[in-house]
Amino acid sequence: MNLPDAEGLFEALVAQLRSRVTPDTRIVGIVTGGAWLAERLHRALGVNTPLGVLDPSFYRDDFGKAGLHHQVKPSQIPFEVQGQGILLVDDVLFTGRTVRGAMNELFDYGRPARIDLAVLVDRGGRELPIAAQHVGASFEVPPGKVLVLDRTPSGALSLTLSDKRRERKAAS
């Protein structure tokens, strides 16, 4: 199938968010692709608050089945969560389970006043009642396939369709 250009979707997302985001907005990206996207949004939208990064691996609902085999990145939330509005960012919204884990983790830092979700792609297939407020594009992806966001060394984003998840190998 023909995949849209990730940079085009990024521009669409920036256009949607421009009126919603202020220099004080607290942006939190979900590793790995969501954090890349959040980094780009943070710069493009001129946000001053430092960027937050979440790795919700310790909050996954499939730990009993999958274990901890990849390298978990330390979550970093360099701002107060209590009573604040948070813009949560991920690359691809699918079942909603990752977002569920990320929200649970955020609540362990404090009680946010509000959480909005921005994603580059909504590929459908939700298994939980979770929706994104800001979406670059929505399209169906064949079941069993994984939509993967990649980043070149210069920071350019691209989408590919793969048969398996992104490898997150342990650091040496």
């Binding site: 310790f58 730990f63 390298q71 330390p74 209590q82 342990a170 040496s172």
Partner: protein
């Protein structure tokens, strides 16, 4: 060749009994995972839900404060249920065998056993006995191994020195009786530290210790010269009664870490100690309380390292 008894049929870590023979990737994975647990302690809620519904049994057949407490905190920060058994004062004194005790606890649906025992090999015996769903962590067995201490020492060294590949590390004191020293030596050689030294009198160094890949020094000044890391071992008072050492004072005179001796190491050298410290026996108070000592950081990092071990085992 038979399989490493710590690994399951998929080659993943099922039990943590000793660092000896574990691949570098396994050690690095544990240290990297520990890094992610460090800032959990700084949050509003100091817990992650990873081990929710799991039962962790702390079986301490030998006294311990630091290790037992940090294992308990680690398991609780992972949301596990923790049961502490002080076996020295329970069934064993009534004559129950070790494996009967384990069978009874297994019947209570234990998921993990954290075991300290005065006899080398006891955790290994338990690991062979428990069902395939259960995990055993050695929290110190006899003179054999104390793998989570070796890992937290490695974590501390990596935290301050970043790269093992250029380091000179001196381990000073009673290496003969020290499971801490043995585990740290295996960890450091596996992680690629090129110069690991043991420093102590002939009576307190095991014969053939060179075969572990360390250099032997009997003289303190040459042993710690230009070191990046100095690990002082506890002089085990209970061993002093033998003819191994004339006295505490004699040991301090020859091997105690004083500010004057520390000045022989690199200016940015760190001083470590597994605790509990004996001030004036192996370490001078001015050093123990000085700016180069990272002894209390070791304790803090120990919680994150034990969280990493518990969560990796529970997921395998």
């Amino acid at each position: 060749m038979s399989r490493n008894p710590q690994l399951n049929e998929k080659g993943a870590l099922q039990h943590l009994l000793t660092i000896e023979g574990l691949p570098r990737e396994v050690l690095t994975h544990i240290l990297d995972t520990a890094t992610s647990f460090i800032n959990v302690a700084e949050r509003e809620v100091k817990k992650v839900p990873l081990l929710r519904g799991k039962s962790v049994f702390n079986l301490f057949f030998e006294a311990s404060t630091r290790t037992r407490t940090t294992f308990e905190i680690a398991a609780k920060r992972l949301s596990a249920d923790v049961i502490n058994l002080n076996i020295a004062t329970s069934s064993q004194t009534k004559g129950e065998t070790l494996l009967d005790t384990i069978d009874n606890l297994s019947a209570m649906h234990a998921d993990m056993f954290v075991v300290r025992h005065a006899t080398s090999g006891a955790p290994h015996l338990i690991a062979q006995h428990v069902g395939s769903h259960a995990h055993v962590i050695n929290a110190g067995d006899g003179r054999h191994a104390h793998p989570t201490q070796g890992l937290l020492d490695s974590y501390t060294i990596r935290h301050y020195k970043h790269d093992f590949r250029r380091l000179t590390v001196a381990i000073v004191g009673d290496v003969l009786h020290s499971r801490v020293a043995r585990s740290l030596i295996h960890a450091l050689t596996t992680l690629g530290a090129p110069d690991v030294r043991v420093v102590g009198p002939k009576t307190l160094l095991p014969t053939g210790v060179e075969q572990l890949g360390v250099r032997v020094f009997h003289e303190m000044r040459s042993g710690i010269r230009d070191c990046d890391v100095i690990v002082m071992l506890r002089v085990q008072n209970e061993r002093m009664k033998g003819a191994l050492l004339p006295s505490d004072q004699e040991f301090f005179k020859s091997y105690g870490l004083t500010p004057e001796r520390l000045a022989l190491a690199r200016p940015d050298a760190i001083v470590m100690h597994p605790g509990p410290i004996n001030r004036g026996v192996e370490i001078d108070s001015a050093v123990a309380d000085g700016s180069q000592a990272v002894i209390l950081s070791q304790v803090t990092f120990g919680i994150a390292v034990r969280m990493a071990v518990l969560s990796i085992l529970a997921g395998n």
